[in-house]
């Protein structure tokens, strides 16, 4: 986990990506913007362990491919929804739109799919649009 909520209440956003550099960079960028506190995780298992620590989660940015033989971002989406998370979910994927899992993500009605590399303005507006 990267951040802790301090002082005035900020939006809680968590980033799930197997790429450590991207996780760190995205987390620190969003925190510097001053509008949110970011938690970063690398796998669905980690998310399952720490969801209780994120009681007022606002949004989740999920990578679809989380590594070979690992549960995917779609599994994380289903897990979050089944545990009562009603916040904003953004899939951030670098994979082809023709891939079955990316197609499945596009068919989900209550999630946004962004393709890597997404522009920072596009990313911010996807996260904070409803805030």
């Amino acid at each position: 986990m990267q951040g802790e909520a301090m002082g005035e209440p900020k939006l809680l956003v968590f980033v799930l990506d197997d790429d450590e550099s991207l996780r760190t960079m995205l987390g620190s960028y969003l925190e510097i913007s001053g509008r949110c506190t970011v938690y970063t995780m690398a796998s669905v298992r980690e998310l399952e362990r720490h969801l209780a620590d994120l009681p007022h989660l606002f949004g989740a940015i999920l990578d679809i491919n989380l590594g070979r033989a690992e549960p995917t971002g779609l599994d994380a989406y289903r897990w979050l929804r089944s545990h009562g998370f009603a916040g904003r979910i953004i899939f951030l994927t670098g994979h082809a739109r023709s891939h079955p899992l990316v197609q499945e993500a596009h068919f989900i009605g209550d999630a946004i799919v962004l393709e890597k590399p997404a522009g920072i303005i596009q990313l911010e507006s996807a996260i904070f649009e409803a805030a």
């Binding site: 550099s21 991207l22 960079m25 995205l26 670098g94 023709s98 079955p100 899992l101 890597k116 590399p117």
Partner: protein
């Protein structure tokens, strides 16, 4: 390996099959003929049929031995020439057989041998021209043996429709050869296209997979440049980043070409291995029937 280099291997295998087909047919036909003629030995009188048939079987065995021993090393044309060598002795043999039968005044099916030859030649796998020339040659010989070999005189009183029926068989076998050849060419082209399609699909899958791998670092750099203060250095970096993004963006066009087969995300290393295996594959079974 390109499909062009596979063609000689396929042609060689095709020629080997033709040679084996001819050897089996010739040996079987000659044995049947010898057995049948032995029953009419006294009626047929003095003739060279048995010697010629044994000679033909001998040649067939030699061709078979050569094909089985050196077949893999011989070129398709040489093997095909060997097969045609087997057909050569059939010209004097059939002529002599009908001449002998007619002189002996025995009852026989006129020109049946030619019809069987047409059937064999039309079914033998191989190029169109040599087989078509042979069929034409045998058709001419059938007409000649009918009018000048004494067959017509021996068949007086029999409503056989010869030699026109035999000529019709000849025409039909040439048509079969033409259709077979067209079908074989189509089949070969289809095989080559299938190989090309598989290679293209694997290449597309590989390039998309590499692009996908690059997208996360690009996203990191995108955020990194957005966070850094704007100056000449970051502007140059951002420009380079944009160039990379613009270069890989056209790969999206190939998205629709790829059938990902499974939900796993393939690793580029796995895809390279699969592509190498496809390219190195020597046997393309669908080229051969």
């Amino acid at each position: 390996m390109s499909t062009a280099t596979l063609r000689p291997i396929v042609e060689q295998k095709c020629a080997l099959r033709t040679a084996l087909f001819f050897v089996v047919v010739v040996i079987s036909a000659e044995i049947i003929a010898i057995l049948h003629e032995s029953a009419f030995r006294h009626s047929l009188g003095e003739n060279h049929l048995l010697a010629l048939r044994l000679f033909h079987i001998g040649v067939s065995i030699i061709v078979l031995a050569v094909v089985l021993t050196y077949g893999d090393r011989l070129r398709a044309r040489v093997i095909r020439a060997g097969s045609l060598l087997l057909v050569g002795p059939v010209f004097p043999l059939t002529w002599l057989a009908y001449l002998t039968y007619s002189r002996a005044h025995i009852r026989y099916s006129p020109l049946l041998g030619y019809k069987l030859i047409f059937l064999v030649l039309s079914l033998a796998p191989g190029p169109l021209l040599p087989n078509a020339v042979l069929v034409t040659g045998f058709a001419i010989e059938a007409v000649a043996v009918w009018y000048f070999g004494g067959v017509r005189d021996a068949q007086i009183g029999t409503l056989s429709g010869e030699p026109w029926i035999t000529l019709l068989f000849g025409c039909a076998s040439i048509l079969i050869l033409v259709f077979q050849n067209a079908y074989r060419r189509l089949h070969r082209q289809l095989g080559e296209l299938t190989v090309r399609q598989r290679i293209i699909e694997n290449l597309s899958r590989l390039s998309l997979s590499v692009r996908d791998k690059v997208n996360s670092p690009l996203q990191t750099l995108e955020i990194c440049f957005a966070r850094l203060p704007k100056n000449e250095v970051t502007a140059a970096g951002q420009k380079s980043l944009n160039t990379i993004e613009d270069s890989i963006r056209p790969l999206r066009e190939f998205d629709c070409l790829v059938d990902w087969e499974q939900k796993e995300f393939p690793e580029p290393e796995t895809l390279v291995k699969r592509l190498r295996e496809d390219l190195e594959k020597q046997e393309v079974a669908f080229h051969l029937r």
